[in-house]
C-alpha cells in the first residue's frame, strides 16, 4: 500500500486512486495514519495539489498582473521559443491558468531561469500568486 499526499492535506490511495479526506472519523484516513506510524512516507505531491478548478486564475487577471515591459519581453522570447509560444497559445485558448499545474510551474521556472531572466523571482511570485479566491 502506498499513498500520495496532496498539499491540501488529503491523500490518494495509489492502489485504486481513492481520494481520502483528512477526517479523523474516516476509516481509510485512520488506516493511512496507521500506515504513517509504521513509519512509512507518502509520495509528496509533485509541486501541485490535484488539478482544482478553484486554483484557476482567469487569463485576463493573469495578464493584468504583467507590465507592458514584461509582456514585450515575454512575447519577444516566445517569438524564438516554440515551447513558450505554445504555452501562451494554450493560455489564450483556455482563458485561465491552473496555478498549481506542472505546466504553470515549468513556465514560471523558465521565465525566471534565464540569464538574464525574463522575470525576476519577486515579480514572478506576484504574477503567479494564488488569488486566494475560489472561482469555480
Amino acid at each position: 500500500m502506498t499513498y500520495t499526499l496532496y498539499l491540501d492535506g488529503s491523500v490518494q490511495r495509489d492502489a485504486d486512486g481513492a481520494w481520502i479526506p483528512a477526517d479523523a472519523g474516516n476509516a481509510d484516513w485512520q488506516e493511512y495514519q496507521t500506515w504513517l506510524a509504521v513509519p512509512n512516507t507518502p509520495t509528496p505531491a509533485v509541486g501541485d495539489s490535484p488539478p482544482d478548478p478553484t486554483n484557476w486564475l482567469p487569463g485576463m487577471e493573469f495578464l493584468s498582473r504583467i507590465t507592458d515591459a514584461e509582456y514585450n519581453a515575454i512575447m519577444a522570447d516566445a517569438a524564438l521559443n516554440i515551447q513558450m509560444m505554445r504555452w501562451i497559445e494554450m493560455l489564450r485558448m483556455r482563458g485561465q491558468i491552473d496555478l498549481y499545474s506542472q505546466e504553470a510551474i515549468d513556465a514560471k521556472a523558465y521565465l525566471t531561469g534565464g540569464s538574464p531572466p525574463i522575470l525576476t523571482t519577486e515579480r514572478a511570485d506576484i504574477i503567479f500568486a494564488d488569488p486566494g479566491v475560489d472561482s469555480p
Binding site: P21, N26, W56, G59
Partner: protein, 320 residues
C-alpha cells in the same frame, strides 16, 4: 436495530470475491476478515431463511482454499447505535444455515456483542475498556439450520461509544465444494423481550445504509471501472465553451453521510478512474475537489480536454 440485518442491501455487488488476508465490506454494513489461504465468496442468495425474507447472506470459503485461521464476519456499531443501548439489557437474534461441506469442528459458530469507550470503528483486536454482554456459540453440523435468540445478563455500560456484533468460526482442512454458512434476520435490541424480526421496506434499509456507502451506479451494477454502464453517471456538461472554468460535476449524496467519505471514481468504458468523453473517444483526468467535498456531497473536477460531454461514475465510502 441493525441496518441490513436481513442482508437485503448489497450496494457493492451481490457476489463478492474477497481475497485472502484482507478486511473488506460485503453486504452493506457487514465486513469480513479473511486469513491466509482463505479466498472467500460473500454473496446474496435469492431466498431468505424464512418465507418473509427475500434474501440471505452466504459466506463461502472457496473450494480448495486451505486457510484455517478464524474468520471474522461482523457489524460495527456507530456511536449513535451504541448510545441507544446504554444502560439496557440487550437481546440478539439471528438465523443460520450450513452447506454440505461446512467444515468447522462441531460446526461451531461463535457470536459476541462487544462494546467499548473509544472512537467508533471496527473492533480489531479489542475495544477500549471492552465489555462483552453477549457471548455464546451455536453448533450447526453440515446442512443444518438453527436460530439464536439470547439476552444479556448484565446491562450495557452507560458510557459506551463503540460496539460490534461479531461472528467467528474456524474452518478445518481444505474447503470442499460448499464450505458455506448463510445468515439472515440479525436483530439487536434493547430489553429482554426478543421481538419478531422487523422486515423493513427495502428503500428504508437502503437509505440507512447509504449513510455509510453510496454510489452513482444503478443499484444492481457493482462499482467498477469499465462497467459498460452509463446509467446514473455524473455528466460534465463541457459544451465547447472552452473558456468555461470550474469544469466538473457536483454529486449530492442520496443521504448525508456519517463523515466525509472516501471517493473513488470509475471510468464507465475504460479501465481507469478518468472522465470518459461521451463520444467514447478519449478521457480527461478526474480529481476530487477537497474544498467542495464533505458529508453532503462531492465535486468531481475535470482537467479541461473538451469540447464534449464527459461522464464518470463514483462511489463514496464512510464505513466504520
Amino acid at each position: 436495530m441493525l441496518d441490513n440485518g436481513g442482508f437485503e442491501v448489497w450496494q457493492r455487488g451481490v457476489a463478492l470475491t474477497i481475497p485472502a488476508s484482507v478486511t473488506a465490506y460485503t453486504a452493506d454494513r457487514w465486513y469480513i476478515t479473511t486469513g491466509t489461504g482463505q479466498i472467500t465468496t460473500v454473496a446474496l442468495f435469492n431466498a431468505g431463511l424464512t418465507s418473509r425474507s427475500r434474501y440471505q447472506g452466504l459466506v463461502q470459503r472457496n473450494p480448495g482454499q486451505t486457510g484455517t485461521s478464524t474468520v471474522v464476519f461482523a457489524y460495527p456499531l456507530t456511536t449513535s447505535e451504541c448510545v441507544r443501548l446504554r444502560g439496557a439489557k440487550i437481546s440478539l437474534s439471528f438465523l443460520a444455515n450450513t452447506g454440505p461441506d461446512w467444515s468447522p469442528t462441531s460446526g461451531t459458530i461463535t457470536y459476541n456483542v462487544y462494546f467499548g469507550t473509544g472512537t467508533e470503528g471496527k473492533r480489531g483486536a479489542g475495544f477500549t475498556g471492552e465489555t462483552n454482554p453477549i457471548t455464546g456459540t451455536i453448533n450447526l453440523p453440515p446442512v443444518n439450520s438453527g436460530s439464536v435468540a439470547v439476552t444479556s445478563s448484565g446491562t450495557v455500560a452507560t458510557n459506551v461509544t463503540q460496539g460490534e456484533v461479531r461472528l467467528t468460526w474456524t474452518p478445518v482442512g481444505p474447503a470442499g465444494a460448499a464450505d458455506v454458512v448463510a445468515f439472515d434476520n440479525f436483530q439487536l435490541e434493547s430489553g429482554l423481550v426478543i421481538t419478531e424480526f422487523e422486515y423493513a421496506p427495502f428503500h428504508t434499509m437502503l437509505a440507512l445504509c447509504q449513510r455509510h456507502y453510496c454510489k452513482t451506479f444503478q443499484y444492481d451494477v457493482p462499482p467498477a471501472q469499465n462497467s459498460g454502464s452509463r446509467l446514473g453517471v455524473l455528466v460534465s456538461p463541457f459544451d465547447g465553451d472552452i473558456t468555461t472554468s470550474g469544469v466538473g460535476q457536483a454529486w449530492r449524496f442520496p443521504s448525508p453521510m456519517r463523515i466525509a467519505p472516501t471517493i473513488v471514481t470509475y471510468n464507465p468504458n475504460v479501465a481507469n478512474a478518468n472522465w470518459r468523453n461521451n463520444a467514447n473517444s478519449g478521457d480527461a483526468a478526474a480529481t476530487v475537489v477537497t474544498a467542495f467535498t464533505g458529508e453532503n456531497g462531492a465535486f468531481i473536477g475535470q482537467t479541461v480536454a473538451g469540447p464534449e460531454y464527459y461522464v464518470i461514475h463514483a462511489s463514496a465510502d464512510a464505513s466504520l
